[in-house]
Symmetry: C2
């Protein structure tokens, strides 16, 4: 019988401890950089991506500790992308997760460099040999390669550029899907796949993890759009979002609320089927996680 | 008998062709990003770092083609660091190598993301399996790890942060040395070491490459400082640099011109000795390169 909360706490504790461990401490004059990196990396968040990496590794029958460097690497890359996204030349956001953004706290130049350093730290972390829990070099290369491609110009960064070019414009559904698949989907995909690669899973199993990730990645984005509308509608008399937000194409603005909800249900069902077919009983935690992501209320 | 120019042209041609080959072409709407990446990466430069990678690989008796992904990766990281350095929140430089900087040409947001994408592309490139010229996964991990650590917060980025914090201040010689060792030395060290790692060289040989690199990295920086003074002094009646430049500590301002020149001679001699002791006749190209770097006039 699965105790979801206990397992989730176990994963979270592994992740938080390791993130702290991997952060550089001893500097030669660049301590402010290390503080800025820690400030953003240790600022909570749901840690969905690293949890997926650990859970897929365990669903493949491997000790999830082996996947920790890769789980932490995907969170480092997610965090760096938020730091750079918040910069004045990008979204110019002064707040992130209830605290001043990295550039408000440490200045623009240090935030830029802290982002660069977290992206680089992701690779330092994956490529360091771990004597305590060794992963075969072939698997290290494959997993790190999956993350590099997902994070790069043909993945996450590509999605950010498409997003920039679409600002304040109505875009069609297929372009919105491509943008989200790159901007948020690629990293979720890499998180799931890396767990399998570290465990030495077959190409077929890695493919199943990737299919699962593409379903929940899209569902996650649609739920976000639904919550933006249903959440805001409760704030009676308050204008819904800024002008730019109002003009932005979303799944709800393009499909309507009902069709958006149906699509989430379909994607979640497909994600669950994929899990059961490839991982059987070992998918218990991931099945519950999938359900909770689809029915979340914030 | 070494034909230095011919060998240099051969290396340069390998590097330029491979850089072009590794750049992403086919986008899904992010073509502007790819243009910005190509604009900065294919904008000349002396390619000293990738040449070191290929030359050390060949000095170890291995076909330098095997080291091409690593040579190109170090140049991608060097280029991304220049793009981010030129941004308004950093040095705010409008020109780079005689052309408008990346952010002048493509806008700040696209330049930021082009830098991020080039840093990521370095790892995509190293971690892709090359069926034509396979490098053992163990060596791939080791070489990519060397570059990641050299480029990160404890390497190049750390040096940039120390540089930022020292702006407009006089700093002592030991701090200037630490800053340069991180900011420019670390990447030169990684370039040399990676060539040896790809060739499967012993730890001792990798250590010799690293010692060589630390000598020429420092010598290179001192020559830069000397040329800044002797070059500028020819511009009679023109103020030497900006106020900030004038106040900046350099090897020349701290040691004087004569002692700086002696130090370059000493470092170059040590670099040459290290080459001869570890690589013998195979060091011919590197010996000549070392001499030319020390006596260059621009």
């Amino acid at each position: 019988m699965l105790n979801f909360e206990k397992k989730q706490r176990e994963y979270l504790s592994m992740i938080e401890n390791s993130l702290h461990f991997y952060l550089p401490q001893q500097g030669q004059g660049q301590e402010l950089l290390f503080q800025a990196m820690a400030y953003s990396l240790e600022n909570g968040g749901k840690r969905i991506r690293p949890i997926l990496t650990l859970a897929f590794c365990e669903a493949c029958g491997e000790d999830p500790h082996a996947a920790l460097p890769f789980a932490c690497a995907v969170e480092m890359i997610h965090t760096y992308s938020l730091i750079h996204d918040d910069l004045p030349c990008m979204d110019d956001d002064a707040m992130r997760r209830g605290k001043p953004s990295c550039h408000i706290q440490f200045g623009e130049a240090n935030a830029l460099l802290a982002g660069d350093a977290l992206l680089t730290l992701a690779f330092e972390t994956m490529l360091d040999l771990e004597p305590a829990m060794p992963v075969a070099p072939q698997r290290v290369v494959q997993a790190a390669s999956v993350l590099a491609h997902a994070a790069g110009g043909s993945g996450m960064i590509g999605g950010q550029v498409i997003d920039l070019a679409s600002e304040g414009k109505q875009i069609p559904l297929d372009r919105l899907k491509v943008m989200d698949a790159l901007k948020t989907g690629a990293l979720i995909d890499a998180a799931a796949q890396m767990g399998c690669v570290v465990a030495g899973a077959s190409e077929q199993v890695c493919g199943a993890a990737s299919l699962y990730a593409s379903c929940i990645g899209l569902a996650f984005q649609i739920v976000d759009d639904i919550l933006d509308v249903t959440g805001s509608s409760e704030l009676l008399g308050k204008p819904i979002g800024s002008d730019a937000e109002k003009e932005k194409s979303t799944y709800v603005s393009l499909l309507g609320l009902d069709a958006s909800r149906r699509l989430v249900t379909e994607l979640t069902a497909k994600a669950r089927e994929t899990l059961v077919a490839s991982f059987g009983e070992r998918a218990a935690f991931l099945l519950e996680l999938t359900e909770r992501l689809a029915t979340r209320e914030k």
